[in-house]
């Protein structure tokens, strides 16, 4: 799994704003960003600040309902995804995200938000290591990830991850 600092750096590059070096504070390793307008602490705080600085408010959500969904999944990343130790827990998360995405193109339904960016970079290595069997098992998550990596500004210098277009396994996967 990508470190929080790397994820913030990638999103900052996508947004075209500078974020400088990310340090970590306290036993909980809260990310800290020192900038011209002061110090900001916390993953959600930093990402939303960067999106505002880039004048891309729509990534934070355009109304209270969308904002709540963005806040909720960014919190989920810090308090749940980052804190899962065992492989079993990671599989649980992939399964949850897969189910959530079963009727959506992106996390905010039909357009990219900070959630998609944050989870794309956080899960890149995890998805890369999945077998074709697992990619098929997490069908909706794979479709979402594949959608995301079609954008060069999102994928940046990372390698393209291959997903099979044909169904490789039948029966037991469903």
């Amino acid at each position: 799994m990508a470190t929080t600092g790397d994820t913030i750096q990638s999103i900052s590059a996508y947004l075209g704003v500078k974020c400088g070096k990310i340090t970590y504070d306290g036993p909980e390793k809260i990310p800290v960003m020192k900038g011209k307008t002061g110090t900001r602490k916390g993953f959600t705080t930093i990402l939303k600040h960067l999106a505002r600085a880039a004048e891309k408010q729509n990534l934070i959500g355009e109304n209270l309902g969308e904002k709540a969904v963005v806040d909720q999944w960014l919190e989920f990343k810090t308090c749940y995804i980052d804190r899962c130790g065992a492989e079993k827990d990671t599989n649980q998360i992939l399964k949850e995200l897969n189910t959530y995405l079963s009727d959506k193109v992106y996390f905010l339904s039909h357009r990219v938000s900070l959630i998609d960016l944050a989870l794309y970079y956080t899960l890149y290595t995890t998805i890369k290591e999945l077998t074709f069997y697992d990619k098929q098992k997490y069908l909706h998550l794979s479709r979402w990830f594949n959608n995301m990596q079609q954008s060069n500004s999102i994928r940046q210098s990372s390698l393209y991850i291959t997903f099979s277009k044909t169904q490789l396994y039948s029966g037991s996967a469903h």
């Binding site: 306290g26 036993p27 909980e28 390793k29 809260i30 900001r40 602490k41 916390g42 993953f43 959600t44 705080t45 939303k48 600040h49 505002r52 209270l64 309902g65 904002k67 709540a68 969904v69 806040d71 909720q72 919190e75 989920f76 810090t78 308090c79 749940y80 980052d82 804190r83 899962c84 130790g85 649980q92 399964k95 949850e96 189910t99 959530y100 079963s102």
Partner: protein, 228 residues
């Protein structure tokens, strides 16, 4: 909107206070502490707000902010306090409370973790009536709700009011607010420590930072071992 909660769940205070101040009507659906509400999550974490059929908010802070529906003067400062509350304060307070509810005694190390965080809050609240700006925001509501069981009821952290006088002043002044009083009366129905104990022992413990949790095991099984 439907609000699913088990009885005695202190995190539900966040939603009820916010709904009251934000003048939103929520229909409270009482469920058991072990019930699963959100279909795509494996966790039984409560409360959950169903904004409209099949659209769920499972984060109390996000749901509270939604219900409060405020124009915030300094959104980034509110974000930062909610980040701290969810990543540091709540996991620490829950661990202390759950260990207390399971074993009927205070775990000194867990109590100390909470006190370290209260010290930070005490410094940050100096000279202020509310944590961000001049009005009550979701940051106050979230912090106050999580601290409530340390100040009131069966599982209080003794000496808090004296050791952290700034926090105590802020906590007490918010406690007089009718929305806060009403939320407490709905969730705790008098002094219902039995319901609170059930909720604390049945609800999933928030995860701790991995390095931290190795030194400080807080998973349910381990907590129960101490009881035996």
């Amino acid at each position: 909107m439907k609000l699913y909660t088990d009885p005695g769940n202190f995190q539900t205070l966040k939603l009820l206070i916010s709904a009251e101040i934000g003048k939103k009507t929520v229909d409270i659906q009482e469920v058991k502490s072990e019930d699963h509400v959100v279909p795509y999550l494996s966790s039984n974490k409560l409360p959950v707000l169903e904004v409209y059929p099949n659209k769920y908010l499972f984060s109390c802070n996000a749901a509270g902010r939604f219900l409060l529906s405020q124009d915030e003067d300094n959104e980034s400062a509110v974000d930062q306090w909610l980040d701290w509350e969810s990543a540091c304060l709540y996991p620490s307070v829950f661990s202390y409370l759950a260990a207390y509810a399971n074993s009927n005694k205070v775990d000194n190390e867990l109590a100390q973790n909470v006190k370290t965080l209260l010290k930070h809050l005490d410094n940050e609240l100096k000279g202020k009536e509310t944590i961000v700006g001049d009005n009550i925001t979701i940051a106050d509501v979230a912090l106050w709700s999580t601290l409530y069981p340390l100040w009131k009821g069966k599982f209080v952290l003794k000496g808090c009011d004296n050791d952290f006088q700034v926090v105590n002043g802020w906590f007490t002044s918010l406690s007089d607010h009718p929305a806060f009083q009403k939320a407490v009366s709905v969730i705790f129905k008098g002094d219902d420590s039995v319901a609170m104990k059930t909720s604390l022992t049945q609800q999933p413990a928030p995860l701790r930072h991995i390095e931290d949790s190795k030194k400080q095991p807080v998973q349910k099984q381990q907590v129960q071992k101490q009881t035996n």
